[in-house]
């Protein structure tokens, strides 16, 4: 039995304070987004938390126009898969970027996105 290097709850607590955290495998040094029990590359079970810069570029994006309940008042809104400069990727809500400026490769920077009292991953202009 080992405590996780960083739990999902702690990831989002730190993210809410503006800090993105990844975990690095102690054996093969692969980087993952937590929570993860085993390293998917080498099978090791020893992780070290490492801070991420929050800087990345859009790998793909969409503008949601038909939204689920709870997000309908936001529509239209953009969601992007963002490749962070450290190599891992995160999906996030885009904020303060005009929808007609969206493009694959556009630099963006992490910032917390809160809706309905719950913190999630967001990205704004770099």
């Amino acid at each position: 039995m080992t405590e996780p290097a960083i739990s999902q709850r702690v990831f989002f607590e730190k993210a809410g304070a503006g800090e993105l955290t990844a975990i690095r495998c102690q054996r093969c040094h692969a980087l993952s987004i937590p929570p993860r029990e085993f390293c998917p590359s080498c099978g090791e079970r020893a992780w070290q938390p490492v801070p991420l810069s929050g800087e990345g570029t859009i790998a793909s994006y969409t503008v949601i126009r038909v939204a689920p309940r709870g997000h309908a008042n936001d529509a239209p809104y953009a969601i992007a898969a963002v490749q962070l400069k450290e190599g891992v990727s995160l999906l996030g809500r885009l904020m303060d970027i005009p929808l007609d400026r969206l493009a694959i490769g556009l630099p963006v920077r992490f910032r917390p996105f809160t809706r309905g009292g719950q913190m999630a991953v967001g990205f704004g202009p770099a």
């Binding site: 793909s60 949601i64 038909v66 709870g70 898969a81 990727s89 999906l91 913190m119």
Partner: protein
């Protein structure tokens, strides 16, 4: 493993129904048993697909409910949930149960009821198949997931919105000849391209509809199947998974689970994509059909859009895809879809598909994708 055959199929009309999902399944299963020439008492197990019943019908424990409504309350039942691939996953496990010699006759199917709730509600319930903490909180929708795939595919290969629209036009054209289809009407390229945007670049007519419906197939061991009128043999049934989170998927222009499930199915059957005559695949969105034809090895990566545009995937083309009309025109009652695809391939291999028949089809393939591309099932079928 023993050989397994499909000996009976049944599908309800797809569209809007005022009946429960259990009733819809029971109609399809009843038809499948009549088609198989077996009494209900011959069924030794029910493997059942149902996805959002706990939301739209406030119903769990849908396996025994379906069996009770069908009138076979004492058979063992198991409900499978792998999002939109649920009844195809149920099928694979039933194949293994018969293959292993545990049972000789297993009923497989599924049903879904969603048109009794609003689009906003059903959009939310379908989104439950993406991660609750990481993705649902962003307002990600299923059109949104495939819009991310579409953008990536367009950027990598130059796939166009017109090529995606060509998939919708083709599947609607096929659906005209399917009396069970939700939409039996042709649409034009212009109608698709001018339809309202749902999740850029996917428009309303790039998306399959919400659908109520049921489907069922009867599986049998070789010993039982030899006495059936028209057995269609299961040559392979394979499953693969992939990362749950979109962020963990390395290349959004591909669906690696499709590639892995296809490789496994081809290996089981000793066949390759060049041996396949007819395909029913998971076109929940037009881009999903393009990426699936590439992942199944039917076309080179990046050429799936060209194949649709040139008519290669039409009935009469060199690789007919979705002669039933696909999810796009036939409809997509998510828990029933895998079984409905299998029913269509069986109908094709029996040379029983009427005006939508693919001439001379001897080997058929079904491909069903679950939700955010994290589950894929691929099965292969052949006739004597």
């Amino acid at each position: 493993m023993r050989r397994v055959a499909v000996i009976g199929v049944g599908v309800t009309k797809f569209g809007r129904h005022e009946r429960s999902s259990a009733e819809l399944f029971a109609e399809a299963a009843g038809d499948a048993l009549v088609d198989a020439g077996l009494p209900p008492s011959a069924v030794q197990a029910l493997y059942y697909g149902n996805v959002v019943g706990s939301e739209t019908e406030k119903q769990l424990h849908t396996g025994p409910q379906a069996a009770s409504v069908l009138g076979i309350p004492t058979v063992p039942t198991t409900r499978f949930e792998t999002a939109c691939a649920s009844s195809h996953a149920a099928f694979r496990h039933a194949v293994m149960e018969i293959g292993a010699g545990v049972s000789d006759v297993v009923l497989v199917g599924g049903a879904e009821r969603v048109l009794n709730v609003t689009t906003e509600e059903s959009t939310e319930y379908f989104a439950y198949a993406s991660d609750a903490r990481w993705e649902q909180t962003l307002g990600l929708t299923f059109p949104g997931v495939f819009a991310l795939v579409a953008r990536a595919h367009m950027a990598k290969y130059g796939t166009t919105e017109a090529q995606m629209a060509a998939v919708a036009v083709k599947n609607h054209k096929h659906g005209i000849h399917n009396p069970k289809a939700q939409f039996q009407k042709a649409i034009t390229l212009e109608q698709v391209l001018k339809s309202p945007m749902v999740a850029d670049p996917l428009k309303l007519y790039d998306c399959c509809p919400f659908t109520d419906g049921g489907a069922a197939v009867v599986l049998a061991s070789e010993e039982v199947a030899r006495k059936a009128r028209r057995p269609i043999w299961v040559l392979a049934s394979a499953a693969a998974s992939d990362w749950m989170l979109i962020g963990d998927k390395r290349d959004l222009s591909r669906v690696p689970a499709t590639e892995r499930a296809a490789a496994s199915a081809y290996q089981q059957a000793g066949l390759g994509p060049q041996d396949v005559d007819v395909v029913e695949l998971h076109d929940c969105f037009t881009i999903a059909e393009i990426v699936a034809t590439e992942g199944l090895g039917l076309f080179e990566p990046g050429t799936g859009g060209i194949a649709a545009e040139k008519g290669w995937t039409s009935v009469g083309g060199k690789m007919p895809v979705n002669p039933s009309g696909g999810l796009k025109a036939k409809g997509h009652p998510i828990g029933a879809t895998g079984a409905a695809q299998i029913a269509e391939i069986v109908t094709q291999l029996r040379d029983d598909a009427g005006p939508r028949q693919v001439d001379g089809a001897r080997v058929g393939l079904t491909h069903t994708l679950g939700g955010n591309t994290a589950t894929v099932l691929v099965s292969l079928f052949g006739r004597d």
